[in-house]
Structure formats: structure tokens, C-alpha cells
């Protein structure tokens, strides 16, 4: 065993912190404070990505040949930790962590050349068109169809939970190209280079937190070029499974979770306890915060083992386990947030939450975000494969 960091890691850390302390604009910092979801405020996240890209740091995990910084896994973790300690808004994941890595692996040379540089530079945002009103956990039963016609596909049907589709300029999606054989067969993976094709309609859906983060997209004889296909026709299910690996695992969640714990601790220090002193001195609060801290620490250990190449990361259940742990921790943290703010969490502060809003927040930083963060985080056990589905997958690895 060897836990010692690379000799150069502290030098690297200094370089990172110097940049992170100076580069973000006030609006970007504000967006960080007002992030209540896995998706940070759109405009600021994209602006921040452009700044990071100028430094070469927009995509820490991308290989150097595609414009990544070429960092070691340990460097990536240090970057994530320092980033989160400053409460900076996360970059939007769909393009950088989903389409990008997928295209690197199985995109055509033309798709790579066209899209990867724009993804990296923050010039494109890709929304995901997977789920349909009738196809949620049972994604393979999707029915939105694409019929080949000349060089095009003609798409009919609808997609739902297309995150930020109303802000996106591109879309990746699964369509049904055949109804023969098993339902997993007959699915094709398509890239749409526009979201304003004739016949496309985007309807934002307001969430529990009052924000239109999700959308529904309707397709009525929408004609798109076949060149947007990734992989073979009717082979989209395996393309999507490949992509899901990127979505479910592989990232460093624990630094963000640690930062949420620190945020709660800070707020507790400013919150009077009905039993005297501040909430931070309250033994019950300390116990409950200690319990979250222990579980976040274990998640950090798990992530670091995986980063170090420990066999745990080769377990076929690894992505599901990662998703289960981080989603449920996020929810538990959100519950403690609402407890700490108490009554101060009750005003609907939807207006004040917009970056640049001139509505003054009521209560402290945590009061502003606790309730929307709690409500939004209910989705973490639903999206990207419900936690029920993830548990099914983990259990499958235990069957003799």
C-alpha cells in the first residue's frame, strides 16, 4: 500500500488554486452559490467553461489528443477538490461527460472533427433525448421512430426529460428504426446538429423547485441527415450502454459532497439552537453531521480506490454502486439542509435564485438553496436509471 501523493502534486495544487481563486467572474461565483441541481445555471456554466477552456482545463478527464490537459487521475481529483472547495458551478455534464467521450470512442472521424472541439470550447450544448412518456425505466420500449428516406431519417414521436433542451443547440437521441426482434434491437443512436428543425417543438416542464430544467420535445415528420448516426443502424442500444458507463461512474462526486457538508456546517454556526448556543454546538446535529461525514468519507475512499486502479473499479456493478451511493448521499445531505434552515426554508425564493436577480434573498445562503436543492435532488434516484434498476443490476452480480 502507498498513499503518498506524487511528489509534484502540491505544486500542481498551487497552480490550480491560484487560477481558481482569480479566474471566475462574480457572476460565475454567484451561479455556484445558486446551484441547486446537477445542472448549474446555464449561461454562467457555459461562460465559465469558456474561461477554463482558455486555460486548457475545461475537460480534466479528456485525453490530450482531444484537447484535455493530460492530467493523472490523482491530478484530476485534486482539481475537483479545489474546484468544489470554492463552491464553483459544475460544468454541464451532457456534452463534456457523455457525448464527447462517446464520440472519441466510436464517432466517425468527421463527427469527431466537427463536434469535439466545439464541445470542449463550450460552443455547443447537447440535450439528451432518451426517455419517452411510455419508456422510462423500461427505456428499451421506446417508440419515437426514424424512417430512412434518401440520405435522411424522418422522425416522429416525442422525448421527455430532455434536460435544458430549451437552452440546447444540439441533441443526441435514441430512435426506433425497426420493430423486429427483441425491443433492444431496432434502436438507433442519432446526433441532431440542430434542435430547430421544422416539425420539432420544445416544451419546458417546470419542476418541483419551480425551474424549467426539463423539457418535452415533439417530432412531427422531422427530417434529419443520416450522417448523424453513431454506430450502425439498429445498434443504438449498445451505443447507449457504452455511453451510460460515462454517465454513471468514473467521476469524483465526493469533493462536491464534502463541500455541501462544509456549507451546512457554516450555516449551523450562524443558526441559534432552541436549546442554547448555535446549532453547530448541538450534539444531535453533530451526530447527524458526523454520520453524513462518515459516509461521504467512505465514498471518497471508494472513489480513490477506483482512481488508483484497485480491482473494485473492475467490478461490473461499479457504475451502479457509484450511482447508488452518490445519489442517496445527495438526498440525505439535502434533508439535513432543510432541517438546518427550518422556517427560513419556507419562502419560495425562486426569483432571488436567478443569477443577477435584484430580489433580495431572505435568510442566509443556505436558506436560499435548501428547499430547491432538496426538491431537485429527489430526481437523483430517478434519472439515469432509477435506483431500483441499479439495485437490480448490483444484485445480478451476486447470483451464483
Amino acid at each position: 500500500m502507498d498513499i503518498e501523493p506524487d511528489a509534484d502534486i502540491e505544486k500542481f495544487r498551487a497552480e490550480v488554486t491560484e487560477f481558481l481563486d482569480t479566474a471566475p467572474t462574480p457572476e460565475i461565483r454567484e451561479a455556484g452559490r445558486k446551484t441547486t441541481s446537477a445542472f448549474a445555471p446555464f449561461e454562467q456554466a457555459m461562460a465559465w467553461q469558456k474561461i477554463l477552456h482558455a486555460r486548457g482545463w475545461a475537460a480534466p478527464s479528456w485525453p490530450a489528443e482531444y484537447g484535455g490537459p493530460g492530467w493523472s487521475i490523482e491530478q484530476q481529483y485534486v482539481f475537483a477538490s479545489e474546484y468544489q472547495k470554492r463552491g464553483l458551478p459544475p460544468l454541464l455534464p451532457n456534452s463534456l461527460r457523455m457525448v464527447g467521450p462517446l464520440l472519441m470512442d466510436i464517432g466517425t472521424p468527421e463527427q469527431k472533427a466537427t463536434y469535439l472541439p466545439r464541445i470542449l470550447a463550450g460552443e455547443d450544448y447537447w440535450t439528451q433525448g432518451y426517455s419517452e412518456p411510455g419508456a422510462g425505466s423500461d427505456l428499451a420500449s421506446l417508440s419515437c421512430s426514424a424512417v430512412a428516406d434518401g440520405d435522411d431519417y424522418v422522425i416522429n414521436g416525442s422525448k421527455i426529460w430532455t434536460t435544458l433542451a430549451h437552452k440546447a443547440n444540439r441533441m443526441f437521441m435514441l430512435v426506433r428504426t425497426s420493430r423486429e426482434g427483441k425491443k433492444q434491437q431496432g434502436i438507433t443512436f442519432l446526433l441532431l446538429d440542430r434542435v430547430d428543425y421544422p416539425g420539432m417543438q420544445i416544451r419546458p416542464i417546470v419542476g418541483l423547485d419551480g425551474e424549467p430544467e426539463q423539457c418535452e420535445v415533439f417530432f412531427d415528420d422531422v427530417r434529419v441527415p443520416q450522417s448523424g448516426r453513431v454506430g450502425a443502424e439498429n445498434d443504438g442500444w449498445s451505443v447507449a450502454k457504452h455511453l451510460l458507463k460515462h454517465e454513471r461512474g468514473g467521476s469524483a462526486h465526493s469533493p462536491a459532497l464534502h463541500e455541501r457538508i462544509r456549507m451546512i456546517r457554516r450555516a449551523a454556526g450562524d443558526t441559534p439552537s432552541p436549546f442554547g448556543g448555535t446549532l453547530a454546538d448541538d450534539p444531535v446535529f453533530q451526530r447527524d453531521l458526523g454520520e453524513l461525514e462518515a459516509d461521504v468519507a467512505s465514498h471518497e475512499h471508494f472513489e480513490k480506490l477506483a482512481i488508483s486502479g484497485h480491482p473494485v473499479s473492475q467490478d461490473p456493478a461499479y457504475p451502479s454502486i457509484n450511482k447508488l451511493i452518490s445519489s442517496e448521499l445527495t438526498q440525505r445531505i439535502s434533508v439535513l439542509m432543510t432541517r438546518v434552515v427550518g422556517l427560513d426554508g419556507l419562502p419560495d425564493q425562486h426569483d432571488a435564485l436567478h443569477v443577477g436577480s435584484d430580489t433580495a434573498p431572505l435568510g442566509g445562503d443556505l436558506a436560499l438553496i435548501a428547499m430547491p436543492f432538496y426538491l431537485n435532488s429527489r430526481a437523483t434516484t430517478i434519472y439515469a436509471g432509477t435506483n431500483e434498476v441499479q439495485r437490480d443490476l448490483v444484485a445480478r452480480t451476486l447470483r451464483a
Partner: protein
């Protein structure tokens, strides 16, 4: 022992339910909540006509002579329908406080107007997580040279605090936070100088306000009760019971809607209720609802008999909060994506439960007082 509603109460529940189903469907409710006023005078008038406002008050003030049992019978139904109108704030809380004040004060006049639906009242009491214990009130009432009082302090999440014609305010005439003695109860009219009202909509669609008093002066007869600790404690208990009844109503609605959805929604070619993980979650929701409702009904019967101790009220408060959260979170998870939207009542019902949990002392506060008292 009998823990059922009377025939009259059941009739009233049925007619209120029918009315709300017809005229207060989810879309109508959302339109009302999204309006400038945030609630509907028409609906309010209709509830008044049906006798809801008068139900729990004595006949002398225009009431129907009912009790806390009527309040619970009514608010459970209102909770299921997510009613935004000021029933709890004006009738249960402010009305309850006015009715509890001694005779011979201005309370009777205000009470008659509240009972008749001619005035809206608000109960301005909470200051933070500790004020379910009235002794912790810090807002002060100092005697003025004119013989009246000047109030200074801040009250949080006063339901309908900006709409109200009269605020019923707890404030300290003497002593320090922690003292049971010296607590007064005041009637403060809308527009009194020195009041800063910061209105907002709560996450669950009620209108409310933080109310700051900066030497807000009131006349001598605004003092409804000079040693009001026990009175305020009873009003807090009554508020907790009514909020719990609303929450239990919301829980029942969540249970019913979720069971129905899980039976109808198909994935993998079968209703999702046929997956054991979903079935067991539904079972746990049902158990939680039965527990919460049993405690609600039992505590209501205790309260009617004048036998509800602080211990019993704390049990009801924590159960409505904890079990409500269980049911709410399970309802969203079972609905999946559509449960995360503002377009179904599911999330709104959950938010109503969460908001009630935070009022009059959170779950942790009451759990601890419970355990310490054993």
C-alpha cells in the same frame, strides 16, 4: 371510546369534498395560487357559507359550537385538496387565539368578524425553531407614555401576515426569553406604524410574511391577555393539530394517487406495482398513513377532552412530519419523472407536508423534548 367523526361532521366533510372536487380541481387551484392575491375571495365566501369558518366557535360569537374535532374534520379535507385560502391562519390560529382571550377585550369584536368571514386574522408568534415553547419569545412590548405599548421584534412565516386585518401577536411585557411569565398577547391592526411586512408565497402555495416590529405602537386595549403563556401554548397546540390534520389529508391523497398510478403505469409490460420494490414501498406508505392518522384521531380526542399533554402534541407533530416525509418521498420516487414536475399535485402535496413540518418546531426539536420528558 370512539374515534370516528359524528354523522354531522361526516356530512360536512362530504359536502366540502364534493365542492372542492368540482370547483377546486388542481388546475383551478394553481390558477388561484398564481394570482396576484394568491387565494380566492369567492372560494373563501363559499367555505364560509358551508359553515366552515364558524364551525369551531361558540354560538355567542356567531359560531356553530363545534370543537377541535370539527377543525380536524375540516382541515384533513382541506389538506387533501391543497387549499390556499386562510383557513388555518385566520380561523384556526388567529381565531383560536382571539377566542381564548379573556372577555372584555377587543378580541370579541375581531373574533366575530373573523368568524363571519368579514376580516382575516393572522397569528404572529413564531420567531425561530424554539418558539413552540412560548417562553422563548423575545419580541418585547414596552409601555408607552400614552399608556399603550410599543412592540419591537420579528415574527417569521406569519401565515397571511400581509393579508390580515388583524395580527394576534405574542410579545413580552416583562422578563427575558426563557421566562414563562411576562408574556402578553396583542391585537395589532393592519397598517399600524412601525410594522414592516415582507410578504412571500410559501413553497406550498400559501401567502405568508415575515413581520418586523420597530416600536410599533398600539393602544392600551390592544392587550388581549397579560399573562398569556398558557393561552399561547394552547393556540400553538391547536395549530399543530390542524396542520397535522392537513398533512394527514395530504398523505391520504398521496397514498391514493400513488397506488393508482402504480397500478396503471406499465413498464416492462406489467404495472409497476407488480415489482416487489414498488409494492413494498406502497405497503410502507400505507402503514405510515395509518400510523399518522391513528395518532391524529387519538390526539384530537384527547384534545377535545382537555387531556392532551405537551407530550401528546409533540408525538403528533413528529409523526405528521416523519411519516409525511416518508410518504411524500415515496410518492415522488414511485411516480418517477412525472413526480418531479409542477404539473401534478404530487409535489405540491409533498411541499405542504414539508412546510407544516418546519412550522412550530421541527421534528428534531420535538423528538428531543419528547425523549427528555420520559
Amino acid at each position: 371510546m370512539d374515534f370516528t367523526f359524528s354523522d354531522e361532521q361526516t356530512l360536512m366533510r362530504d359536502s366540502v369534498s364534493r365542492y372542492l372536487q368540482r370547483d377546486y380541481g388542481f388546475d383551478a387551484r394553481q390558477a388561484i395560487v398564481g394570482s396576484a392575491k394568491g387565494w380566492s375571495s369567492d372560494v373563501w365566501a363559499r367555505l364560509g357559507e358551508m359553515g366552515l369558518l364558524a364551525a369551531p366557535f361558540p354560538e355567542e360569537v356567531g359560531g356553530l359550537g363545534g370543537s377541535i374535532v370539527d377543525v380536524v374534520a375540516i382541515t384533513e379535507v382541506l389538506g387533501a385538496h391543497l387549499v390556499a385560502e386562510p383557513y388555518i391562519g385566520s380561523v384556526v390560529m388567529a381565531g383560536g387565539a382571539l377566542a381564548a382571550a379573556p372577555d372584555g377585550t377587543v378580541s370579541a369584536g375581531w373574533l366575530e368578524r373573523v368568524v363571519a368571514g368579514e376580516a382575516i386574522g393572522a397569528f404572529a408568534h413564531e420567531e425561530g425553531p424554539g418558539t413552540p415553547d412560548p417562553a422563548l419569545v423575545a419580541t418585547r412590548a414596552e409601555r408607552t407614555a400614552a399608556g399603550g405599548f410599543a412592540l419591537t421584534g420579528e415574527k417569521k412565516v406569519v401565515l397571511h401576515g400581509a393579508d390580515a386585518d388583524v395580527l394576534v401577536v405574542s410579545a413580552r411585557l416583562a422578563g427575558e426569553p426563557g421566562d414563562a411569565g411576562g408574556l402578553g398577547l396583542f391585537a395589532v391592526e393592519r397598517g399600524t406604524a412601525g410594522l414592516t411586512v415582507t410578504p412571500f408565497t410559501t413553497v406550498d402555495g400559501r401567502r405568508a410574511a415575515h413581520v418586523r416590529f420597530e416600536r410599533a405602537e398600539v393602544a392600551a386595549d390592544a392587550l388581549l391577555a397579560p399573562e398569556a403563556h398558557d393561552l399561547v401554548q394552547r393556540v400553538v397546540a391547536r395549530s399543530i393539530v390542524a396542520l397535522a390534520a392537513e398533512a394527514v389529508g395530504a398523505m391520504g391523497e398521496l397514498l391514493g394517487r400513488t397506488a393508482e398510478y402504480a397500478s396503471a403505469r406499465e413498464q416492462f409490460g406489467v404495472p409497476i406495482a407488480s415489482f416487489q420494490a414498488v409494492a413494498h414501498r406502497l405497503a410502507d406508505m400505507k402503514v405510515a398513513h395509518i400510523k399518522a392518522r391513528a395518532t391524529l384521531l387519538y390526539t384530537t380526542a384527547l384534545a377535545e377532552a382537555g387531556r392532551a399533554r405537551p407530550h401528546d402534541i409533540a408525538v403528533l407533530k413528529v409523526q405528521a412530519g416523519r411519516l409525511g416525509r416518508t410518504i411524500g418521498e415515496s410518492a415522488i420516487q414511485t411516480h418517477g419523472g412525472v413526480g418531479m414536475t409542477d404539473e401534478l399535485p404530487i409535489g405540491h402535496l409533498v411541499k405542504r407536508i414539508l412546510a407544516s413540518e418546519a412550522m412550530f418546531g421541527g421534528t428534531e426539536y420535538h423528538l428531543r423534548t419528547l425523549g427528555a420528558g420520559l
